[in-house]
Symmetry: C2
Subunit: 460 residues, 2 copies
């Protein structure tokens, strides 16, 4: 045991029952949604900010890594403890401290799930816009650490646009408060946004002041099928350059649709090569005219194979069924599929998708593309069989070529999933060694002993 | 001359005509809108990023400060060279590199004025939301460095919400690119937002990728007078907690109105103690119903002294006249007035304004409050006579008490003007010494020789 005395000291802080070192427990807290896994030395479940400060002090004494963990839904291994260490599980820090609907903010602890926050906001007719697919289990702390998004960010923006301030603990145990309860403030550097998306490497978030919004009175849904991807992406560009922005604008490409066409309940035309799925959210007064405006753009002077609108939640659910069924289907076909989330300017989508289609043919690899088309953010799924070494090797070559193309098109290698361990080899292609070094120096300011998620920087 | 050879070396870089050391020129570039002034050692007008890198190299050789200057409209002395140094004037870096309306971004150099950018965007039916009062002369570089806002930020948010990426040069001459041309990206730390609002202390911005938006089809204006501030602020809270957010929501308090009541063209009722000025921007289809919804909230079941709506720009201008005339009037009455821009959660506005009214009586100081009420952002103007030493002293005591109250109400001491030199003594009350030290360490990562606007940190 390299850290003799560590567990006893941590137990003293959080209590014996909240300090786990049984191998079975360590396994449970050692993986995420990336297929990666490792075991930490110990897992602690603090219930206060003071306890976290004490844990950080102990970590500094033993020079042992700290990995803060919310709902373990990250897809890039950002909380997989490959260097061991102390896992701080935030699940007991799940309180709502204040909801101020008149001032449009809520103060929460990091361990509350996205979904529980939304439930608590509902009686005030308010919501917090970020809506990752994992909302039921992912935590607000995780959403902040990874700058989470989801379908609605096409209209509302991503996590960083919905936070007013943060309280966090640095790697050397300092409690820092950034931001305020107001929608404007320019006092000192913007530490709030610096922490957001930093994947747990700069501080442990202990409280967040979130910007909340009134729930739209009405939401309609539309689906529209097209005979080729170019027409669909032309429509996306047109939708995104006018003023009535949908609250979701998702694309499924030909390969995605091929997997779904056999299901007669989904009513996908056999000639469809691209499907757009749209939500429109508005006031009760404006919903019909807003939906009609978007319907006309989708209809595209008849250049649309079919189009169908839902004005109630039952019919909406049916419209979204194809998209909802896709991810589980892909996971079933290829449990070890590679799931990327590249992003390009919207007008470059046809170029990107054609490029990926060619790669798919060249390397004989099934590649399925779908996702948040309104942001140009595409989930590229390479359906590899993990036991086929040739496929594994080819998929790596493909991935590298996709990333190169994305950067050529002025895009980014990750729109919402982040870098974690999975993409740490690729980050240099986007931001370069100079900027990585700048990042490392910033980290050393917040975390002089390099204890906060150090495995994420181990490659540099 | 402490920096022998400096001017010759700088002339070699930018050319003789773009390197100014005549005392008259140094004065022109030494002040801003804060009433502070100082002279630098030399002013350079580079016309390329390469020239700036070379200038930074020279500055490091001579260990001389660099102050980057746009339109000199800052109200807090953020670019007043009290420690001397090289002023980099960005006026020749005023090009638009690309406008991509379909992808909703524009890439610009820092020296273009806000107003010239808007003019260039107009043919594409696009605009960039930040609209400070100084739009005609302030530069985009200055807007970014200070995280500028303006009336429309109540609907659209502040500068940091309208930037996708930046190119900048650090204090040791490294060229760094942050962000991308996409609305989503989570790759490395958010250096874009860290630079925004850092008042020129972390890097010299050389290019910015700005998020642009379609111009709303129609704008109506409304003014409404109230017999007491409490009713007006109740209405503000109600306006801000519903979904149809105005594109401007300004307040003028009783003291502001008293200065204006003598002007019969403004039609301010003698009993009015608070005036709200509102813009509503929407599609041609929705403008009437949106304006009507907001009109009803302002009408407040008749609890409104009078109310008047304008549906064309000629009438709108008349509605906004009282607000437009106020600032020049204040400057005329008290040229050395103190102009603060505190911000509190919207529901705390009555509490703040009552507190300031009491201070005004207690110290016999005229204090006029107006500003961006929808954000809780109030411009507190203390109308002192600079020659009256008692008034000057009292105003300092008042200011300290106002800042303390604002922080008690979970607000911030600056909503949009920033800290600069003027407020550097007060920043510790809001963010504390620990956070100031963290800021200093972050600065040393970007600027190891402390050359970028070092006077702003001289107090710490």
């Amino acid at each position: 045991m390299p850290y003799e005395g560590l567990i006893a000291e941590l137990s003293n802080i959080v209590g014996h029952d909240n300090c786990l070192s049984d191998p079975a427990d360590l396994i449970i807290y050692g993986y995420d949604n990336s297929t990666m896994a490792a075991v930490a030395d110990v897992v602690v479940l603090p219930n206060s900010t003071t306890q976290i400060i004490d844990i950080v002090t102990i970590a500094n004494k033993y020079k042992i890594p700290i990995i803060t963990k919310g709902g373990s839904t990250n897809t890039c291994g950002a909380t997989v403890p490959t260097l061991g260490g102390i896992i701080i599980a935030t699940q007991k820090l799940n309180k709502i401290i204040r909801i101020a609907p008149n001032d449009r903010y809520a103060i929460v602890q990091p361990g509350i799930t996205n979904s529980n926050l939304q439930t608590a906001l509902k009686p005030f007719n308010m919501f917090w816009p970020p809506d990752p697919g994992s909302a039921k289990t992912c935590t607000i702390g995780g959403n902040l650490a990874c700058n989470a998004a989801g379908p609605s960010s096409v209209k509302y923006g991503v996590t960083r646009e919905h936070v007013l301030g943060l309280e966090f603990i640095t790697g050397d145990g300092q409690l820092i408060k950034a931001g305020s309860c107001t929608t404007k403030s320019v006092v000192g550097y913007d530490l709030t946004r610096l922490l957001i998306g930093s994947e747990g490497t700069l501080g442990i978030i202990t409280e967040a002041i979130l910007k909340i919004h009134p729930i739209p009175e009405a939401t309609y849904s539309i689906k529209a099928n097209y005979k080729c991807i170019n027409i669909a992406t032309e429509v996306i560009t047109r939708l995104m350059s006018q003023d009535t922005i949908p609250s979701a604008l998702e694309l499924m490409d030909a390969q995605s649709l091929n997997l779904m066409k056999k299901n007669p309940n989904l009513h996908i035309p056999s000639t469809s090569q691209a499907l757009l799925l749209i939500n429109i959210s508005s006031s009760a007064e404006h919903i019909d005219s807003d939906a009609n405006k978007i319907y006309q753009i989708l209809y595209n002077n008849g250049n649309c194979l079919d189009i169908c609108m839902a004005t109630n939640s039952y019919d909406s659910d049916k419209i979204w069924q194809a998209r909802k069924l896709l991810s589980p289907k892909l996971k079933y076909i290829a449990p070890n599929k590679i799931n990327e989330d590249v992003v390009v300017p919207v007008s470059k989508l046809p170029c990107l998708i054609r490029f990926i289609e060619k790669l798919s043919v060249k390397y004989n690899l099934p590649i399925v593309n779908f996702g948040h088309a309104g942001n140009g953010n595409i989930h590229v799924n390479i359906l590899i069989n993990n036991k086929d070494l040739k496929q594994k090797q080819d998929s790596k070559i493909c991935l590298q070529q996709i990333f190169t193309k994305v950067l050529e098109l002025n895009g980014s290698i990750s729109g919402e999933h982040g870098i974690g361990l999975v993409k740490s080899n690729y980050i240099k292609h986007e931001i370069g060694i100079k900027t990585i070094n700048l990042n490392k120096h910033i980290k050393s300011v917040f975390d002089p002993n390099n204890l906060l998620n150090p495995q994420l920087f181990a490659n540099f």
